[in-house]
């Protein structure tokens, strides 16, 4: 029943994105989001799409896998595009006029732009982080990036520790859930029939043992950590240090340059580009 759920979608591989420092990837992701959301003019959108394509190719993730991650969003994508298509009022005459439906040129442009933005956001964040970074690397990177906040007494290490413990125990919890479901089924519990209320009620014999054992496990883990003198992040060293190589910085520089480029390109209208091309060729 639960065996298809995997947490995170890390997909082992050996691409530049897999090898890149997780901290750099997080910064690049932020820049990438700015690029995808800011791009408005034709050229800027073209650059942003090109960057997305580069990331997807560089990740060496199978297209089928990517499609799977986009699939749940198809509905949202169509819905947003449709709203933009029908409800954007434009200047000039509508392109399509039928009863009370008016579709303007601006509407079509907006719908396409929204679809491209959403699609690149999903694809970009999948290949930059979820597919190519292990959850544990991710928490380490977040801790490292947020470490300046420690000066403000924000318990960054503790949060990161909680996050990584939670991540580590997800497979155990899934296994345990399966075990409990089987045990209650052996006592003739019925999870698959009846109305919604009955089904929710049927989950009680699963949820209670699950919570009880999760709490017990947490207490045991806390004891085990204390027995080994865990006392928070102060002076703690790591088994696996995050390392950034020169290549990571080059990558970061390029991404920053593209971000700046896209923002600049936004101020150039399509008309100006055409004019520029005309002067170039005449």
């Amino acid at each position: 029943m639960l065996k298809d759920i995997t947490f995170g979608q890390y997909y082992p591989g050996d691409s530049i994105l897999h090898r890149a420092d997780a901290r750099i990837k997080i910064i690049i992701l932020i820049e990438y989001m700015i690029i995808a959301l800011a791009a408005r003019s034709l050229l800027a959108v073209a650059v942003s799409v090109a960057f997305t394509v580069f990331l997807v190719v560089a990740s060496k993730i199978k297209p089928g896998l990517l499609l799977k991650s986009v699939k749940p969003l198809i509905f949202v994508l169509i819905f947003t595009a449709a709203i933009n298509l029908f409800f954007t009022a434009g200047e000039g005459d509508p392109v399509v006029h039928w009863n009370f439906i008016n579709i303007y040129r601006e509407g079509i442009v907006n719908a396409l732009l929204m679809a491209v933005r959403l699609l690149s956001l999903v694809l970009g964040s999948s290949v930059l982080l979820s597919f190519t970074t292990t959850p544990l690397d991710l928490t380490d990177a977040i801790e490292s990036l947020l470490s300046p906040l420690k000066k403000l007494k924000v318990p960054v290490h503790e949060f990161a520790m909680m996050m990584s413990i939670a991540l580590k125990f997800i497979p155990t919890l899934i296994e345990e859930t399966n075990k409990i479901i089987s045990a209650q089924k052996a006592r003739c519990a019925d999870f698959d029939s009846g109305n919604i209320f009955r089904r929710v009620k049927a989950l009680i014999p699963v949820l209670i043992p699950l919570f009880v054992s999760a709490v017990k496990r947490a207490e045991e883990l806390a004891d085990a950590m204390e027995c080994r003198c865990y006392h928070g992040g102060e002076g703690r060293t790591r088994l696996k240090e995050l390392k950034s190589r020169p290549g990571d910085y080059v990558f970061l520089l390029c991404a920053t340059a593209i971000t700046a480029g896209v923002i600049l390109l936004n101020s150039i209208t399509t008309q100006e580009v055409f004019d520029f091309c005309k002067t170039l060729f005449s």
């Binding site: 345990e176 075990k179 409990i180 089987s182 045990a183 209650q184 089924k185 052996a186 006592r187 003739c188 519990a189 019925d190 009680i204 014999p205 209670i208 043992p209 009880v212 054992s213």
Partner: protein, 291 residues
Amino acid sequence: MSQSIPALEFSKVSVVYGDKTSFEVRALDGINVKFPESSVTGIIGHTGSGKSTLAMLTNGLLKPTEGQVLLFGEDIWSKKHSMKEIRSRVGLVFQYPEYQLFDETVEADIAFGPKNIGLDPEEINKRVMTAADFCGLSEKELKRSPFELSGGQKRRAAIAGVLAMQPKVLVLDEPAAGLDPKGREEILGGLDEYRRAYGATLLLISHSMEDIAKYTDRILALKNGKVCLQGTLDEVFAKAELMFDAKLDVPQITKLFIELKKRSICASTDVYTVERAKQMVETVIREAKNA
């Protein structure tokens, strides 16, 4: 009764986990076994040999990839009976069953199974009392929350939860694992009483050869998903040396007789209870005196 239909029968049963992926594991491979009615079969084998997988097949929690599981001669997957009915006839107690406890009181928790079958309250109450009795749970313990009980009491409450369905076939996956000798004795003794009272067929998975020797009359030994030995206790322990070769354990007392055989003091090794050992030793001494 000698040639009657077995309570449970496995016919060419194979189970493959993770089909169609690279992580294919053949947990059971062409198993053919019959469990005669009212017999007690001890199932032994190393960790990973497929014992728990076999247990999950008996009540339809797992569907065999190939082959059939027959309950009193009928394929449990034939759709003739609902899964609920199958599961009320084949009780399955998992390894460390304590985690299945959830209700406010032990009494209510034991009643969970019978309630799911749809029995009337009076019958449920009767069954809960009987099951608690077999498992040695007192009136006072029945009123407590299952989470306040000791480890051994929790185990007994969980087993009572399955016994309350009064199954004709009872499968137990290491019911006494991790308990002290007294706790083991009480649980296994209670199960034996239940079996005698209801003529139930028992499948007992255990690592303790002493418990197997004491409570079962048949043995099924699994190795890498295949049957490596099966038969009555006498048949299997007569081949005790074979069991050693298969890296399976035998009772301490049998080990002693294997050593005695090596030294040509006593010829037979099908000795697995202290009673029988005493007889054998006495015979040997008498013969030695006569000679």
